[in-house]
């Protein structure tokens, strides 16, 4: 018999012990800094005064202004770069000078005069050539930018973006040279649009128009957004990015308006789980919780001083497949039967506003635009709904309602299912993961779909960004609803320079959707809000209705 060798469990204990000790020695000790802090409302009392720690909900998928499409990436891009224009305060959200110090518009042409004191972090000046290079890069079919369509209002941009590049044909090069973006001198950019598009200047506040540094892009390829490679010109610069864990931004002393920037360091901690983010805030490990929290905690958090809420240019709505639910009276009955107030008071709970029209309340001109849309009310009007329902000769009794599986949608769908049941409708709820959901939506939607959940947050603060969703052939129009008269109204609006007249055209379009005489291809539910937990010692935290967080005005201490 061999000698027993059963010392190995002991050996493992020893290995584990050594490993833990080794890990302890190797650790940096930074994340434990908030542990001794005993405040219950979050926030740290550190002496540096200029360091803010923010919990963000995801890894930014791309810090390339041409490729960023989500709000987390946009948050970092916007605070490390200078946009062409900033948006002024709500409700007007007028364009304010940023990289473009001033501008002239004449017909279809916009001329931007750039600041001369904006410098890249590598010391080079930011010039009109940078803007032209960056815009053409984003439009180019080779980059594969989602937001290339933001540029489609510029002459020749759509054609260039749609060409099929190959080594043999020079078609793309020819189309590139025809795009209406030029630099007459070092600090002037001339843009030729396809129509006047009075909102174009506000649209320029979007991150996709932010110029990139040509030398960094060419030197590092798709790695140019890593710390050390990421050449930018904004209030902060990226100094550290541990993927999926954290990013550090440090004040850029060469930013043209550096004296107004108060924060020294911004530490972004990626915490995807809402419950953990809430605990991290409560434990004082972060100063701002941007990630969010489980919906069930909303009622409690709302009563803490840390709770801050901001209006949004966004809408949560249900659309109808008008080829399935063909009778307008049934659609009206269903829209009337929705109790919006109950949904925002008891389900969403973060100050959302019951939406009685599609155009968000905060959009410039909303008071005029929505003036005729008084048919839908915040609460359900079951009597009127039943009246409309009784007018339907062939009601569709079995309705399939589809929605994606993000948190909160099911609770709302269940509530509306019960409300529609009162109209005698048998509603089947169908929840799907996002890509599947989109396959069902089309456009055109699957014939089985009766109603669906959707949402929209503005790209730029003009109602055209909302109303154009329901144009015939729009990729976002999942309703099968197509009305030439509606399209004509919007077409007129793209050329209408006079603001009052443009708002009037929008008003007519909105009325075609949601007013008493409208076609009701959709049922608006609520207008979004943005909510955060912000520590008491953080000042100036602000989110504009486009979900843009500008850290220039934020301070801590």
């Amino acid at each position: 018999m061999r000698k027993p060798r059963f010392a190995w469990p002991l050996g493992l204990v020893a290995v584990l012990f050594i490993a833990l000790v080794a890990a302890g020695c190797g650790g940096g000790g930074s994340s434990g800094s908030g542990n001794n802090n005993a405040t219950t409302t979050g926030g740290n009392a550190n002496a540096s005064g200029g360091t803010i720690r923010i919990a963000i909900g995801s890894e930014p998928p791309s810090l390339d202004p041409g490729l960023a499409t989500d709000t987390t990436s946009a948050f970092v891009v916007l605070n490390t770069n200078v946009p062409i224009v900033y948006l002024g305060p709500a409700p007007d959200l007028k364009p304010e000078p940023a990289l473009a110090q001033s501008w002239d518009t004449s017909g279809n042409t916009v001329t931007l005069h750039l600041r001369k004191d904006v410098k890249w972090t590598n010391g080079q000046p930011v010039t009109a050539d940078d803007v032209v290079y960056s815009w053409l890069r984003t439009i180019s079919p080779q980059l594969g930018a989602d937001y290339a369509y933001q540029f489609y209002g510029i002459k020749g941009a759509q054609e260039y973006n749609s060409c099929k590049p190959s080594a043999a044909n020079k078609q793309c090069d020819a189309l590139k040279s025809k795009v209406g973006i030029t630099a007459p001198d070092k600090y002037t950019v001339k843009v030729d649009l396809t129509s006047p598009q009075p909102w174009f200047l506000q649209q320029l506040s979007h991150t996709s128009f932010i110029p990139v540094n040509k030398s960094a892009v060419e030197k590092w390829g798709n790695k140019w957004t890593e710390p050390g490679h990421y050449v930018t010109d904004g209030p902060f610069k990226l100094t550290q990015w541990q993927h999926d864990a954290s990013l550090t931004l440090v004040k850029n002393p060469d930013y043209y308006d550096a004296s107004t920037v108060k924060l020294q360091t911004v530490k972004l901690n990626i915490i995807t789980d809402g419950s953990t983010a809430e605990q991290a805030f409560n434990a004082g490990n972060v100063d701002v919780n941007e990630t969010g929290w489980p919906p069930s905690d909303t009622a409690r958090i709302k009563n803490t001083p840390a709770y801050q809420q901001f209006p949004s240019l966004g809408i949560y709505y249900y659309g109808f497949n008008v080829k399935t639910i063909t009778d307008v009276n049934q659609r009206k009955a269903m829209a009337l039967a929705i109790d919006r107030k109950t949904i925002v008071d008891h389900i969403t709970q973060t100050g959302q506003v019951p939406a009685t029209a599609f155009t968000p309340k905060g959009i410039p001109g909303a008071a005029t635009i929505n003036s005729e849309s008084t048919f839908l009310k915040p609460t359900a009007d079951m009597t009127l709904a039943k009246q409309y329902m009784s007018k339907v000769s062939n009601p569709v009794k079995n309705v399939t309602l589809i929605f994606n599986n993000a948190p909160g949608h099911k609770e709302i769908a269940t509530a509306i299912q019960a409300q529609w049941k009162q109209l005698g409708l048998n509603v089947t709820l169908k929840q799907q993961d996002w890509p599947q959901f989109l396959k069902f939506l089309g456009p055109p939607p699957d014939p089985s779909v009766g109603a669906f959940r959707m949402g929209w947050i503005a790209d730029f603060p003009d109602d055209i960004n909302f109303l154009s969703i329901f144009q015939c052939g729009s990729g976002n129009n999942y309703t099968n609803w197509c009305n030439k008269q509606y399209d004509d109204l919007l077409k007129k609006a793209t050329a209408e320079q006079d603001q009052a007249k443009r708002y009037d055209l929008y008003k007519q379009a909105e009325a075609m959707l949601t007013s008493k005489s409208g076609d009701m291809p959709i049922a608006p539910i609520y207008w979004y809000t943005f909510a955060y937990q912000v520590a008491q010692n953080v000042h100036g935290w602000n989110t504009n209705p486009m979900d843009e967080i500008d850290l220039r005005k934020v301070s801590i201490g």
Binding site: G34, D70, L143, Y149, S162, D244, T276
Partner: protein
């Protein structure tokens, strides 16, 4: 033994090819595009540019062929969603974190679970056994996300002994390792206890006892050695599971591991990331199973003879 190992290693090649093929096929069978992530529709021209850029406009067999060729040169391709990262970068940065988390959890599970099972079996149907098994059953029944949330609430948010999230300092690693190890720990305890009880009934144990061998020696040499085989069998796949299955723990503690990427890339239809991680994990599990087979040989020479 060498011949056996060589044969096993060679067998992994067709298995990996099959894994790639099946993942490739399944990712395309579930509908959806990696380029539609938001509520904004993407114009057809933009979609065509994206498909062209990432080669999705080619027929499936061309895509598959190219992928296999790239994998052979250790190039897992670009991520379709994280637009400035390659799958190689993602694996390089995040796999070690998951391996560390899974490794520590496995270690803790063995170091605590195995002795717990032994203790229970030796004190069968006594108070120690009942307490240990109550703990084992509870630990097995309570889902890890609940344990994780409770641990964060109690030890991070209330007592503030540990940070609520992250994976940088030693103290930040304590709670996630405990939360992840609890399931396998109790599994080991139960499996070792059960097998020990069975072995204790065997004739050769009675013989050893009868010939006057010290009880401690009987347990260590005869009982334990033969009771560990099922635990070792379970350990191989479990290690794979701990590394891949730590998604929930990684998500709750915001740990930058690969498990999180795995799940989010499936729901985001990030084909290249899903396939890259699948290939990596299949290699891991194949290797883990191979090690188990070799360990078998030491614990039970009969299996070695039968296989070589």
């Amino acid at each position: 033994m060498l011949k056996f190992v060589v044969r096993r290693v060679l067998w992994t090649i067709p298995i990996i090819l099959l894994v790639i093929f099946m993942t490739f096929w399944m990712m395309r069978a579930i509908k959806g595009s990696p380029f539609r992530r938001t509520e904004r529709a993407v114009p057809a021209a933009v979609m065509a540019n994206l498909d062209r850029k990432f080669g999705l406009d080619k027929p499936w067999y061309v895509q598959y062929g190219k992928y296999v060729k790239d994998v052979a040169t250790f190039d897992l391709g670009p991520s379709l969603v994280l637009r400035n990262q390659n799958v190689n970068d993602i694996v390089k940065q995040h796999f070690p974190v998951s391996a560390e988390l899974g490794g520590f959890a496995m270690l803790l599970a063995i170091v605590v679970g195995v002795p717990l099972g032994i203790l229970s079996a030796l004190r069968a149907n006594r108070v120690t056994d009942y307490i240990a098994m109550l703990f084992a059953n509870l630990g097995f029944a309570i889902p890890s996300f609940l344990v994780a949330t409770l641990l964060i609430y109690e030890f991070a948010a209330q007592l503030r002994w540990f940070p609520t999230n992250g994976w940088d300092t030693a103290s930040s690693k304590v709670l996630p390792v405990i939360a992840l190890s609890l399931g396998p720990l109790t599994y080991f305890a139960r499996i070792v206890r059960g097998q020990m009880l069975e072995t204790l009934q065997q004739d050769y144990v009675r013989t050893a006892k009868a010939k006057g061998l010290r009880w401690k020696r009987v347990v260590v040499v005869h009982v334990l050695r033969n009771s560990l085989i099922p635990a070792v069998t379970a350990a191989g796949p479990l290690l794979g599971f701990l590394v891949t299955g730590s998604f929930i723990i990684e998500n709750i503690f915001s740990i930058p591991g690969i498990g999180r990427y795995y799940v989010t890339s499936v729901s985001g239809r990030d084909y290249s990331t899903v396939m890259g991680i699948t290939v990596l994990l299949s290699i891991l599990i194949i290797v883990a199973n191979m090690i188990v087979d070799i360990l078998y040989g030491f614990l039970d020479p009969r299996t070695r003879d039968a296989r070589t």
